[in-house]
């Protein structure tokens, strides 16, 4: 009998079909619909912004990989970080900004701590927040989406619905909910949203922000397509529902209960659905807060983390002065993650209530 050369290794000898690279590329794939929408809504310049951020991320990863003698370029993590950075940029930013953001993300947030798996904050968010606080004006001037471009008065063209509503409230316009504020200020809605609104009764502003006909960052405007990507990841079992569900529902609940207070509407009059679809929440909850490396390892911990993100997002949105609610909330919770992982442990098999009681009695 022929004698093959046998491999000897520890059990198990079979493995589930998944690896780091396939996960990273699948997440990137899930982001493509929302990115394409951004390119459609804001024009080809968005593609340029995405291209610069992705390329920068890949180049930085390649160089740092060479220096530390690790070949990590094709595990997809750098591509994903670059894509997320680009999706978090306003379509009108000067191109040096995505360059700096991506470089900061890969070099400072990721590699100074040891590369993939060792970073303690989400690199893409770190990059975004870094450039936001460095170049606040270009980072917070936006462009009206294609569907509204002809209708938006110049004075409003660079405001997102969230920032517009906030400015109105802080300037003393009270007693109106978000859509009333927007229509009062002459903020337009798309004809598509008007017709949906007349059939379903949802406010046209909510419909527009769900579909993606709002000013905002390239990748964050279409809640619908982000949701599609999220469902794909759930089906592929790449993410679990724990973080996105607690984050989205937590924010919606808190916004509904307390969100009406700053606008003078009282409790239980805040926005519920539109709070989930507006701003960067959908992108943040599905794709950023779920980042494996910087979120808790146990499901219990992930639920705490999701609610923490929701709480801070609500706080910054309704009571903060800066428009960076989602990014800063997730970064804050990233910092708390090691603590959560230290104290929130899975229940050990056999550690039932009765057994604990027995143990206690035995001690007494």
């Amino acid at each position: 009998m022929n004698k093959p050369s046998l491999t000897v290794s520890s059990s198990p000898h079979i493995h589930a079909k998944s690896d780091t690279a396939s996960i990273m590329w699948s997440v990137s794939l899930a982001l493509i619909p929302a990115s394409l929408w951004g390119i459609y809504a804001f024009g080809l310049r968005s593609l340029l912004v995405l291209g610069v951020s992705i390329l920068t991320a890949l180049v930085c990863e390649f160089v740092l990989g060479r220096i530390s003698k690790e070949d990590t370029l094709w595990d997809g993590s750098a591509f994903l970080t670059g894509l997320l950075v680009g999706m978090n940029m306003s379509p009108t930013v000067p191109l040096f900004i995505p360059f700096i953001a991506s470089a900061f993300a890969i070099v400072v947030a990721k590699w100074t701590f040891g590369g993939l798996g060792a970073n303690w904050i989400n690199p893409a968010l770190a990059g975004r927040v870094f450039v936001f606080f460095s170049f606040t004006t270009p980072m917070s001037s936006f462009k009206a989406p294609r569907a509204l471009a002809a209708m938006v008065p110049d004075s409003l063209s660079s405001a997102t619905p969230l920032s517009y509503a906030k400015t109105s409230i802080s300037s003393g316009t009270l007693g109106m909910d978000t859509s009333a504020l927007l229509s009062n200020g002459g903020y337009p809605t798309s004809s598509f949203a008007d017709s949906v609104s007349s059939v379903t009764g949802f406010s046209a502003y909510s419909v527009d922000s769900f579909v993606g006909n709002v000013a905002g960052c390239i990748g964050e405007v279409s809640a619908l397509l982000l949701l599609v990507g999220g469902i794909y990841l759930l089906i592929r079992k790449i993410i679990t529902y724990h973080v996105p569900a607690t984050y989205l529902l937590g924010t919606a609940l808190l916004s509904w209960i307390f969100g009406g207070i700053p606008a003078g509407l009282g409790a239980f009059h805040g926005p519920f659905f539109s709070s989930m679809f507006s701003g960067g929440l959908m992108l943040g909850a599905i794709f950023m807060a779920t980042d494996y490396v910087t979120s808790p390892i146990t499901h219990k911990g992930q639920i705490i983390y999701g609610f923490g993100c929701a709480f801070f997002t609500f706080l910054f949105r309704f009571f903060g002065s800066m428009p960076e609610a989602v990014s800063v909330s997730i970064l804050l919770m990233n910092i708390i993650t090691p603590t959560i992982d230290r104290y929130v442990l899975p229940r050990k098999f056999g550690d039932t209530k009765e057994y604990r009681k027995q143990q206690k009695e035995a001690k007494v």
Binding site: K3, I14, I23, G117, D351
Partner: protein, 436 residues
């Protein structure tokens, strides 16, 4: 609709791959030219050699004597001559003394006479189980007489028979349930008599509906007081902790035994062996082994004498159909990879797999994805343990229950970073013990 029971925490779903050898009836292996019968075929202290080089032995004769409380007798699987006694390395990397036996051409000893068991006392049944060298045949090879002797301060109300065979590929237990169902059920009743258990429950996964049907039929026809429960397919349901949770919803706390929750778990193959030991007075010297896998030409379920060399089993199955990358003794999740085709099979060898080569996935850094934590049926944090062990922090690892790890392989199976988690746990346990 009633929910199909299973254990609740963790677990994985590898494809069952039983198709290769599932429909192959048990065949008796023609007598090999030479047998390597080791003295350590069970958990615990190796047996003491009773024979010397040149001695003749008879089929079923005791040739090794249990050398401690947790130890078991070893019997000769053939009549023949002891050519020599030398050290061999077994599948699980244990190195111990073994008899090299040359069988006689004529084998005359048969175990055909039937003895009555119902009239015997449980003490005499138990001593026979000990004398026949019965060990757990699911793979752990824990001596059966130790498992079945219930201490005075404890009582057993449920005897749970493990017909789960949750390891992919393996079909030995499946064939026993199909072909020797009645023997296995009677064996379970003998075990229940020894332990004084009131209930007998058999757990079988739903990928073996024909076994459930067959055993239910036999139990019904003969009015055996046995419950047969179909379980959802999930690995590692064949572990006694998970099986007890799935069948009778009891959880064994860390460091405790099934006895502590009033139960005893016996494998269905062991039940068959117990039956043969008591009724035919036949010691455990042969067993059913599945020789299967993508690279085996004709996968089979073989009744082979203990001590058969792997190479003889392979030859009987027509050799390889394609070049294997790994030979595995046992199942693919917990089995041991072999480096030598002359390694002998033992009482715990439930399978021999020839697995094809796969593109080796590179390990990347831990992503903290939490899949290992979700998959661990015991509720450990494999990623954290891994970090502790590779950094040499054995005490920290022991503090977060490293010793409760039973190396089932779920964490390694799901790890997208392809980290050698089980390997590290094994190393960590060894080094951690040493440090203490």
């Amino acid at each position: 609709m009633q929910k199909v029971p299973t254990f609740s925490k963790g677990g994985v779903h590898p494809g069952d791959k039983k198709v290769f050898s599932r429909s192959q009836q048990i065949e008796r292996l023609p007598l090999p030219a030479e047998l390597v019968v080791s003295l350590s075929q069970h958990l615990g202290a190796p047996a003491k050699a009773l024979k010397a080089k040149g001695d003749t032995v008879i089929r079923g004769e005791k040739i090794g004597e249990a050398s401690g409380f947790i130890s078991a007798d070893v019997h000769s699987p053939v009549s023949g001559t002891i050519k020599e006694i030398r050290k061999v390395t077994l599948a699980n990397s244990v190195c111990c003394d073994a008899y090299i036996i040359t069988p006689d051409e004529q084998q005359t000893v048969e175990f055909a006479e039937k003895f009555d068991w119902e009239s015997q006392t449980s003490a005499s049944l138990l001593s026979q189980v000990k004398d026949m060298g019965i060990v757990g045949m699911g793979g752990a090879t824990f001596p059966a007489h130790v498992k079945l002797s219930v201490p005075k301060d404890k009582s057993v109300d449920a005897l749970v028979v493990n017909g789960v065979e949750c390891e992919p590929y393996l079909t030995a237990d499946y064939r026993i349930m199909m072909e020797k169902g009645e023997q296995a059920l009677l064996g379970a009743m003998i075990a229940a008599k020894i332990t004084d258990a009131k209930r007998i429950i058999i757990g079988i996964e739903m990928n073996k509906p024909d076994c459930i049907e067959n055993l239910s039929k036999i139990a019904k026809e003969n009015a055996y007081p046995i419950e047969i429960i179909g379980l959802q397919m999930k690995y590692p349901q064949g572990d006694e902790k998970q099986l007890l949770k799935a069948t009778i919803n009891r959880e064994i706390p860390s460091g405790k035994l099934p006895l502590d929750v009033g139960a005893v778990v016996v494998n269905v193959g062991t039940c068959n062996a117990i039956y043969e030991a008591i009724v035919f007075h036949k010691p455990l010297f042969e067993r059913v082994i599945s020789v299967t896998g993508e690279c085996i030409a004709n996968p089979k379920n073989i009744l082979a004498p203990i001590g058969t060399k792997i190479s003889d089993l392979l030859a009987y199955c027509g050799g390889y159909s394609s070049t294997p990358e790994k030979l595995v003794s046992g199942g693919p999740m917990m089995g041991f990879s072999l480096f030598d085709v002359d390694t002998p099979m033992a009482k715990g060898s439930s399978g021999l797999l020839a697995l094809p080569s796969k593109k080796a996935a590179r390990s990347t850094a831990c992503l903290n994805c939490g899949r290992c934590v979700a998959a661990c049926p015991i509720g450990l944090m494999p990623a954290k343990l891994y970090r502790n062990i590779i950094n040499g922090q054995y005490e920290e690892a022991m503090k977060i229950s490293l010793m409760d790890c039973k190396e089932c392989g779920c964490c390694s199976y799901v790890c997208p970073a392809h980290l050698p988690l089980v390997h590290t746990m094994k190393t960590g346990k060894k080094l951690g013990r040493k440090k203490k």
